[in-house]
Symmetry: C2
C-alpha cells in the first residue's frame, strides 16, 4: 500500500508557562494554553470535562541524531536499551508530545491546566477530552518502568 509521504499540520495555539528547564516536569504546576483566535470557537464546551489530553510539538528538541531509534529511558545506562516507541522520549520520528492534564479553567481562548510538561512557547496541535475509554485499569507496565516510577515518587 503506498504511504502518504508528508503530512502538514498547523499549531492551534501555544503553551504559556513560567516554568524553566526541569521545572516543566513538576506535575503540580499550572500552565496556560492560548488558542489562536481563528480556532477559539473550537474550545466551546470543553469545560464540561475535568481532564483533557494535550497534543503538542516537541519543538525544543535539537542536536539529536534523528535517525537513532533506540534510547535508554531517561538516558540511564542501567536501564534497558529500548526502541523509542517503547518509551515516552522526546526523541521520536514525529516528536508529538501527549500529556493528560487537569483542566482548571476555560476563559475565552485561554485554558488553565495543571500537569502540562511543556516549555513556554510550545506549539499545541490538538486537544481531546478525556473519557473512560482512555483508561485501562488492568494495564501492565514493564519492570524498568515500575523501577523508574518508584524512584520518582520518592
Amino acid at each position: 500500500m503506498p504511504l502518504q509521504k508528508r503530512i502538514i499540520l498547523r499549531p492551534i495555539g501555544y503553551v504559556r508557562t513560567q516554568a524553566i528547564g526541569e521545572e516543566v516536569k513538576d506535575r503540580t504546576r499550572t500552565s496556560q494554553i492560548v488558542i489562536e483566535s481563528e480556532f477559539a470557537g473550537g474550545v466551546e464546551g470543553i469545560e464540561g470535562f475535568s481532564h483533557i489530553f494535550v497534543l503538542f510539538w516537541l519543538s525544543q528538541v535539537s542536536g539529536h541524531d534523528k535517525r537513532s531509534l533506540k534510547v535508554h529511558p531517561r538516558g540511564r545506562e542501567d536501564m534497558p536499551y529500548l526502541g523509542v516507541f517503547a518509551t515516552r522520549t522526546r526523541l521520536r520520528p514525529n516528536p508529538i508530545g501527549l500529556t493528560l492534564v487537569e483542566l482548571l479553567e476555560a476563559k475565552g481562548n485561554v485554558l488553565v491546566v495543571r500537569g502540562l510538561d511543556a516549555f513556554d512557547g510550545t506549539p499545541v496541535l490538538d486537544l481531546k477530552p478525556f473519557d473512560f475509554w482512555d483508561m485501562a485499569e488492568d494495564a501492565r507496565m514493564p519492570e524498568w518502568w515500575t523501577k523508574l516510577n518508584r524512584e520518582k515518587s520518592r
Copy 2:
C-alpha cells in the same frame, strides 16, 4: 510569540484491518499496525506494556468544511452544539486520531492490537506506551457524554 507556521510529519507505518465502514468502531476487533522497515527498530521492548496509545492520521476525512469548528456529537441534533476540541470528532483542524489499544502481540515490524478504530491503510504517526500517568480515576465528563455512552453500551 511568533508561531511556527507549518509542521511536517511522516507516517511511521499504517493500519491493516479487514473491518469496513462502521465495523472499525467495534472495540473487540483486532487490527495490525505495520511499521515501515526504516522505523522497525523503534518498537523493540514495546511488548513490555499491555496497552499503547496509537496516534494516527484521519486521512479518510473529506468533503468537510475545514473552517467549521463546531459539531453536534455523532451528528445528533439533540446533542449540544460544541467546539470540536470538546469532542473526539474526526473533523478537527489537525485530524490526528488518538486511541488506547490493547497490545496483543509484537512480531518484528507488525503489532497486533485490539480496539483500534482506524480504517485499513490509515497512516500511523506515533505509538506511546500507556502508563499510570495517563489515567485520571476521578475524571468528570459532561452529561451529554454520559448519555451517549449509556446508549452505546446497550
